[in-house]
Amino acid sequence: MNYPVWYIPSIGGGTIIATIAIIHVFISHFAVGGGFWLVLLEGCARHRRDRPLYRFTRNFARFFLFATLVCGALTGVGIWFAISLVQPSGTSALIHRFVFVWAAEWVLFLVEIVSIIVYLHTFDRLSSRRHLAIGGIYCAASWLSLFAINGIITFMLTPGAVARQGEVFSAFFNPTFFPSLLLRTCLAILLSGLFVTAVAAFSKDRPLARRLIRIAGAGCLVALGAALPAVFWYLKNLPAPVRTLVEGASPTIVRSLAVARPAAAILSVGALLALWRPGRIGKPAAMIGLAAGLLLMGSFEWTREAARRPYVLQGSIYSNGQRADRPLKEPFLSSTPWSKSTEPGRELFKFQCYACHTLGGINNDILQRTQGMDAPALEAYISQLHAIRPFMPPFIGSPDERRDLAVWLANQQRSGSKP
């Protein structure tokens, strides 16, 4: 990697990306599914001349615009900013491969913004047909936006047999593109249903709230039901090494799935309750539903990210930013212009371990992971790293550099982890 590393060892770049990404995917899936709910509720309200439902839809649209534009759009830019800092090689490779897909997504993003603003501001000014058409444009643009980004994200996990940079479409429609698209569409309907429930739970018009919670519960149940085969389809299309990780070989994924299961259970029970006894879903239950939705979404994203290891771009760039075709025994620091020679151990940690490990921090602390190991043990472990833990990239460097890293890590253990 011939980029500098933004080094904040107590926090870690991965933690920053994960924090922003989980908030973003939660809001952005709401942004995709929410348009569908807006059009559905407005259509119902107009068809049945239901004034309370119409007023609710208008207020929901106001909340929707604020949440999706202020939090959704900016955290999306935030992910981009963060990955540019933490994974510049991977970001650059992705941008150069998919620049025109991203540019098309930008156009769709612009259509989304303009259509939702026009939708909100023309609520009582346009005919039903025109206004619903504007809502429909928003729905289409936001789902196509998901379609575009889905191709790029799935490429990172399952690039298929793509080799040349110019081959965009075969890279885009990669083996997990369609299962992921179906799963994300279900998650979008589910999360937006949870938001409809939450906003309805705060409504003072209880009969209306009960009706809405029942409708949203039905939507959530359908989405959960459809998500299940999508998950199996997704798993089936994963390459064998990745599926092994997901099925239990990666401790990170095991922890992540331990969160997903109770969250899915809470959501299933909640959706059934919403259908059967919508009056029981008050503000606390709605908030628990949203929290469970956040955990489920976060767990899915965390699993997907962890399943990609040891790569950030499957088969070509390791998760620490090093190119996979780099010779493993080649001296590392002398061919890394942004490293300095005065502290080889620290520099090796920074360029090869820090992308996933913090030093005395909360996420994946390397000092905890190597507790009780002395320098010779660490050196032996580093030399077998990829063989023992296939989800970790192999160490790149000379035997002397491997020793430097081991000694430095052992010293950090002794000194109590001050970077």
């Binding site: 980029y3 500098p4 590393v5 933004w6 080094y7 904040i8 920053i16 107009r46 001349r49 004034r51 119409y54 007023r55 604020f66 534009l69 202020v70 939090c71 759009a73 900016l74 955290t75 830019v77 935030g78 981009w80 900013f81 540019s84 800092l85 510049p88 970001t91 650059s92 941008i95 150069h96 491969r97 998919f98 620049v99 025109f100 897909v101 540019a103 098309a104 930008w106 156009v107 769709l108 993003f109 612009l110 259509v111 913004i113 603003i117 026009v118 501001h121 609520f123 009582d124 000014r125 346009l126 005919s127 039903s128 504007i134 444009i137 643009a141 940079q165 110019g166 965009v168 942004w338």
Partner: protein, 368 residues
């Protein structure tokens, strides 16, 4: 070649095409950003004066701010995309050197954006004391371009990159670069001018229904626009003077393109002053759009001159992605058509939908 400059990736299309796309979207981003920043300053100014006409004008201008913010962000995304494609090997190191500030841009923008929506919604918390909220929003909006200016100048100042070896925690601003402050001032004064022109255009629109309010907005807007454009001559000369001599020479005659663009920019600025004096905000707008495109071109000339020997477009490998390019062109055309239709819907007069003024919004909606 500086060893710290990373190896460039193969371009997905020819340099001129990508450069053209950047030069298409970046000026649009600048126009939206300048409109946002300048108009926020105008709102603060008139809220502070608090005369009857100011009180009537402030909410009209405030209503536009969240929309301008949304467009600024969207167009900024496109600019960053093409900028990273063309200049990634300079862009990423510059952002990493000042990582803390670079990432801080996101929460700063989110706070300002949320504040603008709340201000527009006239929430009780802001109604009684709008000035502190506006000051905070403006301060945030002024901070973001300061960080961008630092990042963009760090891209060009490769000698500053060596500071990374003593500080790798992402807290390196480029404050020792003499061009940083003039460059930042140049953008901020431009923003105030655009804010003035936006106010004048809003006045022109309001004048159809409320002539005194319209005339007032047009007068204060054009006055601010003229003063800031005049001030820009001084700032521009200061900025030019602070550029490294070889780069300055590139603009002052060393390059035909650079020289022509500088002459065009100066001429357009004079024409804008004349139009503002004649109270012609429409013509001023046309000239302003031209000016922003010309200045963006000049900016690229400065960038290429600053990176002479490091940035070699002719030597960069190109792997044409014709299919993806065609897809983008199709989506762009369809998107523009949809945007035009949406804008027409937004402009439809509500009067056509109203039967009587006593009719409630709900009743009207049900009838529609």
């Amino acid at each position: 070649m500086n060893v710290l400059v990373p190896t460039a990736e193969a371009l997905p299309a020819g340099w001129p095409l990508l450069q053209g796309l950047l030069l298409l979207v970046f000026p649009l981003h600048l126009l939206a950003m300048n409109g946002l920043l300048g108009t926020t300053a105008v709102v603060l100014l008139i809220r502070r004066r608090n005369r009857p006409l100011d009180r009537a004008l402030a909410p009209r201008l405030t209503a536009s701010l969240p929309i301008l913010m949304a467009l600024t962000i969207n167009l900024g995304v496109a600019s960053l995309l093409f900028s990273q494609t063309l200049y990634g090997q300079f862009f990423y190191p510059a952002a990493i050197l000042m990582g803390r500030y670079w990432l801080a841009i996101i929460p700063l923008l989110m706070t300002a954006y949320a504040g603008l929506y709340m201000l527009d919604a006239d929430l009780a918390v802001f109604r009684s004391r709008p000035l502190p909220a506006l000051c905070l929003i403006l301060a945030l909006l002024l901070t973001v371009p300061f960080f961008f200016t630092n990042q963009q100048t760090t891209m060009l100042d490769l000698t500053h990159w060596r500071a990374y070896f003593s500080e790798d925690g992402g807290s390196l601003l480029n404050l020792k670069d003499p061009t940083v402050w003039p460059r930042y001032l140049h953008f901020m004064v431009a923003a105030m001018a655009v804010g003035g022109l936006f106010t004048a255009l809003t006045g022109r629109r309001l004048g159809r229904r409320n002539p005194p309010l319209g005339a007032y907005a047009e007068r204060i807007g054009l006055r601010l626009f003229s003063r800031m454009t005049l001030l820009q001559f001084g700032i521009g000369i200061l900025f030019l003077w602070q550029l490294p001599q070889p780069v300055r020479w590139f603009i002052l005659g060393g390059s035909l393109t650079g020289g022509l663009l500088l002459v065009a920019a100066s001429g357009i600025a004079l024409a804008m002053l004349a139009c503002a004096a004649q109270r012609l905000p429409g013509l001023c707008t046309v000239l302003l759009v031209m000016q922003v495109f010309v200045m963006s071109g000049l900016r690229e000339v400065v960038r290429h001159a600053s990176l002479a020997g490091q940035l070699l477009p002719a030597n960069m490998p190109v792997l044409w992605q014709n299919g993806a390019l065609l897809l983008f062109a199709t989506v762009l055309l369809a998107g523009v058509a949809v945007l035009v239709w949406l804008t027409r819907q937004a402009m439809r007069p509500p009067a056509t939908a109203v039967i009587s003024e006593t009719e409630s919004e709900d009743d009207r909606a049900m009838r529609l």
